[in-house]
Symmetry: C2
Subunit: 370 residues, 2 copies
Amino acid sequence: MMLGPAIELGLDLTVLATDPAESAAAVAGDVTLGAHDDERAVRELAGPVEVITFDHEHVPPEILEGIGRDGLAAVRPGPDALLHAQDKLHMRERLSALGHPCPRWWRLPDAAALEAALAEAGGRIVVKTPRGGYDGHGVRIVERAEDVADWFAQGGDLLGEELVPFTRELSAQVARRPRGEAVAYPVVASRQKDGVCYEVIAPAPDLDPEAERRIRELALAIAEDLDVVGMLAVELFETADGAVSVNELAMRPHNTGHWSMDGAVTGQFEQHLRAVADLPLGATTPLAPCAVMVNLLGGAAEDLRPGLEAALAADPELTVHLYGKSVRPGRKIGHVTLLGEEPGALLERAHRAERLIVDGPGDGDAVPAP
Amino acid sequence: MMLGPAIELGLDLTVLATDPAESAAAVAGDVTLGAHDDERAVRELAGPVEVITFDHEHVPPEILEGIGRDGLAAVRPGPDALLHAQDKLHMRERLSALGHPCPRWWRLPDAAALEAALAEAGGRIVVKTPRGGYDGHGVRIVERAEDVADWFAQGGDLLGEELVPFTRELSAQVARRPRGEAVAYPVVASRQKDGVCYEVIAPAPDLDPEAERRIRELALAIAEDLDVVGMLAVELFETADGAVSVNELAMRPHNTGHWSMDGAVTGQFEQHLRAVADLPLGATTPLAPCAVMVNLLGGAAEDLRPGLEAALAADPELTVHLYGKSVRPGRKIGHVTLLGEEPGALLERAHRAERLIVDGPGDGDAVPAP
């Protein structure tokens, strides 16, 4: 999704892919073959380019440090910044030291520490592997130390966090250039399904303007404090009293920002490229009072075409983004966006489209003859 | 510009290009090498695909007829429809027979016919080569038969048209599916510079709603009468009395519709793909009260980056589309779009951006330090 905006900004994009059949590689003109954790491949990518950036957080920091040290390419966000999105213990330590709101958390070197944290927290906490988790992987709700015995056996400290009694999840996205220019998008509300981002409403409904302003400033402050370059998504818990605490950080275009591709003057993929290429940032102004985004997660339909036809026929205002990935149950294979006035009605339409596309049209969903 | 929408709709796109370095080929995953008038190459392209469509009108009709006859692929728009965009004499004959408004026109087999037309028209007419013209090529204002002696020497009839005293040019775009479903975009106003589309205002300012409705219906009727599949642009002259007559037809996404990529729910490239792939058509609703599009025509700057930086810095709401083409004077190398309320102010901003990008920032256009 960065490819289109890259062309339009006159930037040459080379993609690192493990397989030429990968969806990004299949559409990119220039591809370097190799894995993201293969130092040789990442350095081969770095050689001819000016800037390296990411669509996930899993490139090992030591590879990126070497590229910066040897002057092969600018790494944006830099390895020091990126580490806060790669290592959740590092993120908690740093945000806490900076005074940014976090849930209560514990460094857990062993089962004894976990038992102590459980006692302190009332018997249940969330335990996370500091690195490598995504979309609900590497996260468990734990009542006994045995629940994560396998993780302790692998070595390394774990992160414990209180179970925040949140009323909803919010996400604040900002973009920042190398020398500090930054812009913030409207704060959005997101909902997960089995640990995977599922639906987003932009802007977050019924969010007090003063609270919105504070959350935007929090995200801008985190971007500056951590020296982030590119897009930063700050995922937040909101509790009944209106307070927020930071859940996770992502330093790249993020699922909670997909709405901006169709719903804002500057979409997040273009914005990320502008930021890492050190071009002036674009307006984050929404194009409609409300945008909703619903993820398409692999369902019963292997061939998406009949459901796509039914969904487009049912809703001419629907925008569909398929990712060119093969369908596996629960896999993110695309998303849909709708712009309008009222989030409830838009969500209902978006979910109808989602069901048609991922499960295929049923008997009651006949495609009307044109 | 069809590539992004193709991916998002789950369509596999193969591009026919004469050179792998051509801008479309450089970004497309699948490329067939060959010229658009090379029957072997076009048939090689047709073999594996389901549908062939176009981004210009210059593929010889006999090649397309052969592909249809041999069932290699569906050709959309079909050769019979496309001929009206390929051959201006054919278009004039057909539109006149259908009763659609045209300027006075003459078939000119020879200099004597041209002299007669000149006498009838008061001494000056427009003469066009029926085929192969674009962007002002193949069009001359003629006062004496000698002015087009070279064209007559090449053989074949020419087209003569009265010089319409138009007050402005309008463009009406519609999209139509194989079985007839069709949608119309808002009618826009366009302005040319040296025969090349230069700026577009959507919707056309101060166009009476009843006149707009009639023009949309004219475009929809032409699409149906000619059995067009895909996007159809009907370029029109508007005269002081508010009457319109058809200037030209284009059966593909058209420069006068570029505003829709950023300014309408469904952009024209996605809409064209939906139509030719026989998918339900999308809403043509504008996203703002006014959109303006200004073409970037190659100017003094060979390196576009400094001007791009200055333009983006000066106007965060600016959307820039570069085409990845090398810069030559007057060549279309991209376009810019702005959404807002008032066309005059938007045009001023768009032209400021245009000058910065195509000529580069001057002494007075220093890029502000971020």
